[in-house]
Symmetry: C2
Subunit: 326 residues, 2 copies
């Protein structure tokens, strides 16, 4: 069992056979999509699509479904994973990343042109999957999320190197670039058989855990440990991406406030700045904010009438986003 699968183990147990069957059918569907667009895509996308990953977004689709026998859920689950992967492939081009999950990226094997086109193709296939459900609302949810992801990315690039960015603007960016897709996953799940009120509450649940997920990601980038996260500390600092730990630490530490982010050009200096951020207590504070969103998410579950197994599985997912390491 892979580390990712192990991480989801308790969720899979609580989700029961319907979740396991749904995820298995999603894997099959992703493999079909990878194989169905000629050898050029297959070469580039198959490794990406079949390499695993936590499949957290498909899990949310299935666990929020009112009728988990609805075949359209597999289309929705495949669609959100395709969209997520499209953004990863484009991110890897922008970051010139050689590896993802320990395997060569599409950028590394095919170059930036092939990787840009592969990302575009995965975007297209995400919408094709959802169009096949015949639900206009489903397509609208995905296109809203997809637009938000791109707006979040634009915002992040616009704010790069701006150390004085506000916590509010940081949280808005997290909402756009991460939470919006978690929101869409939960709305898509509840779309097939659920009520509008459930859908809105589950969407808000997705928003909350999405924000917690991104907050924790940004904490881990400063805290490590490297042997668990699998990447050096301070990569955000080296990219000029200002996150909550730095925003909070700057309020406490005058030297951090005076620091020009563009002067952080080597990994050793980035690690030093990470230590300095940690010394202010900003990591605990940011982690606390993530935990608050998890608590908020769980409180929403109490207001919904869910089966005990379903509620337990969603609680485990909520806890999982702040307990993971990578």
């Amino acid at each position: 069992m892979s580390a990712a699968a192990a991480e989801l183990g308790p969720v899979l147990s609580a989700g029961g056979p319907a979740l396991a069957a749904g995820l298995a059918r999603t894997e099959e569907r992703l493999a079909e999509v990878a194989a169905g667009h000629g050898p050029d895509l297959e070469q580039h996308a198959a490794a990406m699509l079949t390499a695993g990953g936590k499949r957290l977004r498909p899990v949310l689709v299935f666990l929020t479904a009112a009728d988990d026998a609805d075949g359209r859920l597999v289309s929705a689950a495949a669609a959100v994973e395709l969209l997520h992967m499209a953004t990863l492939v484009h991110d890897d081009v922008l970051d010139r990343a050689p590896l993802r999950r320990g395997r060569p990226t599409v950028f590394a094997t095919g170059g930036r042109a092939a990787a840009t086109a592969t990302g575009d193709l995965l975007f297209s296939r995400a919408f094709a999957e959802l169009a096949a459900t015949g639900s206009e609302e489903a397509v609208s949810h995905l296109s809203a999320a997809s637009s938000a992801l791109a707006c979040g990315e634009l915002m992040q690039r616009a704010d790069a190197w701006l150390a004085g960015v506000s916590a509010e603007r940081y949280l808005e960016r997290c909402r756009l670039k991460t939470a919006s897709l978690f929101d869409a996953c939960c709305r898509l799940g509840s779309l097939f058989g659920g009520t509008p009120a459930q859908s809105a509450e589950l969407g808000a649940f997705g928003q909350d855990i999405g924000l917690a997920f991104q907050l924790l990601d940004d904490v881990l980038d400063v805290s490590g440990p490297v042997e668990r996260t699998g990447k050096p500390r301070g990569t955000d600092l080296l990219d000029g991406t200002v996150t909550l730990p730095l925003i909070l630490a700057r309020a406490e530490d005058e030297e951090l406030r005076a620091l020009d982010l563009r002067s952080i050009t080597d990994p050793a200096l980035a690690e030093e700045v990470c230590d300095r951020i940690a010394a202010t207590g900003a990591l605990d504070e940011a982690r606390g904010e993530a935990l608050e969103h998890v608590a908020g998410a769980k409180a929403r579950l109490d207001r919904l009438e869910l089966s005990p197994d379903r509620a337990r599985a969603l609680r485990l997912v909520a806890s999982g986003v702040v307990e993971r390491y990578a």
Copy 2:
């Protein structure tokens, strides 16, 4: 009047007030989309979306519509233009292009990260526009075209520098990367109020003129004249993109057959190779193939029951794709 508008002048006259009104509403809608996603997108996309261009794809949507009063046509027209622009923005990143239509590209003003995200956002908005029509079939047409565009791009990159690529494979690439969207435009137009038989025939009309469009583009890259096309001759050769003129010329000229494309590294040499291709008569042959597709497209129109004005306008569009210079 811009050069692009002048080029479409006769089509606009033949299309009458319904076409003019549809195009005007499409412009308004594109401006709304550009303004509706925050200052970051507006900065990058507004110039792109409102800079004009021939709007050939929206024209096809309106001219193939069975019921030109259907408000969903504006959504469809905006969607195809948004998708087209998304691919242009990504192409400009890959080509590191400083200018498009005489204006700075998103890549030039915002860098590759902002341009990649802007392209992704335009993709998303294209699907959002169509989802708003409530037509699953419309979304399917667009996602099929969007996937084909990306597959064509992948194919082009996979075949780069392969001088021995076949004419069949070249035509398949043109079908994917250009003709599929023309096809989708015509199917989208005929979707609202048309019959399935009309839709298929109009789609095939779109395919034919799309192929002719791409064939002529590839001829112009070799023939110029530079003062009309606005770009140096031989840019495809410098990119390693093998097109029909070279494929045909290699069959006639042994020295061209022996040429290693990777040795064409400077513009002056690329122009020499262009002259050599022209000397074989390959340009006339490729132009002839484009004209055959235009004739085929017009023959399809004869099999459809269209109003005389509509048929005349579509004929003018078909002729226009091989009569244009840039």
